[in-house]
Every structure is written in structure tokens, then in C-alpha cells.
Point group: C2
Chain length 104, copies 2
């Protein structure tokens, strides 16, 4: 199991636009070998800094399955417009990959 998260700081007031981008995208992740699940998650709102934290959260059967996706045509296609809508964000997304240590 491997958990891949991308953290987005979305400028306060742009939350609905950000969610719409994700709702309206084309996704074919489910066709990828080793794909388990995907969720877009809404995290805490930071009023002082003026953003809401979001995280894309995908689970893969293995780190190798995730890496194979990042090298695929599917990955290139879904990320080709990733630089759009920069005004929505406080800084670039931050990727974090996680390996399970314990649990079930």
C-alpha cells in the first residue's frame, strides 16, 4: 500500500472554483494497474493565513504501481493543465508520499 497526497493551499473565497475544477476533470485513474482509491479532501480553513487546505488523496497497491502511473500517458494528460488557475493558490502544491508502517 502507498498513499500519495498533494496538498493545496486554496485562497479563501476560491474554494468553490477549486472544487469545480476537480469535479469537472476527466479522470481515468480507475483504469491504472494497482489503483485502489481517490478522494479530494477538504481540510482545515486557516483564517489568519487566508486559505483552506485541500489534499488529493490516492491509495495504490504499491509504491511501484504509483511510480508506473507517474510515468504513464494518463499522468501526462491529467497534469497538462496543472499550471492553470494559479491565482487560486497560495504557492505550489506540496507532494507527500506515505508508506504504511503499522495498521490495517
Amino acid at each position: 500500500m502507498f498513499v500519495a497526497m498533494n496538498r493545496f493551499k486554496v485562497v479563501a473565497g476560491s474554494e468553490e472554483d477549486f472544487e469545480a475544477v476537480w469535479r469537472n476533470r476527466e479522470s481515468s485513474l480507475k483504469e491504472m494497474p494497482g489503483f485502489v482509491s481517490f478522494h479530494l479532501l477538504r481540510g482545515p480553513h486557516d483564517a489568519a493565513e487566508g486559505y483552506t487546505l485541500y489534499a488529493s488523496h490516492s491509495v495504490w497497491q504499491s509504491h511501484d504501481a504509483f511510480l508506473a502511473w507517474t510515468k504513464s500517458e494518463n499522468f501526462r494528460r491529467v497534469h497538462k493543465n496543472a499550471g492553470d488557475n494559479k491565482a487560486m493558490y497560495l504557492g505550489p502544491p506540496v507532494f507527500e508520499g506515505f508508506h504504511p508502517v503499522e495498521g490495517a
Copy 2:
């Protein structure tokens, strides 16, 4: 669905001790209503800052189920020693709760 994560910055060199604390703890989360899954996740190592990021990652059927757990005797029991081992950490853990917006 609700995802509860606690982020721990574990001082470089203390990773094995930190993992041992989790492996050796008593857990009865599975007895809690609405509990779905728990994993301790190991994230990226930050060599410049001298820590490895870990996250406890639990999934609940609903935010209400999570909140009920935080008010339970089970929660008090498993957190009663949470202040131990402070030398392992760079700062306190940071809690982040997430609500799914999109996905399956």
C-alpha cells in the same frame, strides 16, 4: 467519510523508536462505532530540517463518529501518555481533519 490525520515530525535517528511506540501500543479502535481503518504512515524525510514526517491516518464513516471517539474513554486511555517521548519530536503533532469533496 472523514479522514483524521495527526502529523508528527520525528527527529532524524528516532524513527525506529517512534515506530516501536506505535507497534507496542494497545489499541481498541476497531471496537468504536463508525471506525473504518487506521494506518501509521511514514512520509518524506527532510534532511535539511533533520526529521522524518509521519502521519497517523484514520478513516471514519462520518465526522460525528470521529467526534464521538474523541469524547470516549477509549480516546482518553490511548492518549494519556501522549506527552511522553517528547525528545523524539520537532514540535507538537499537528492535527488535520478532512472531509471528502469528490472521489470514490
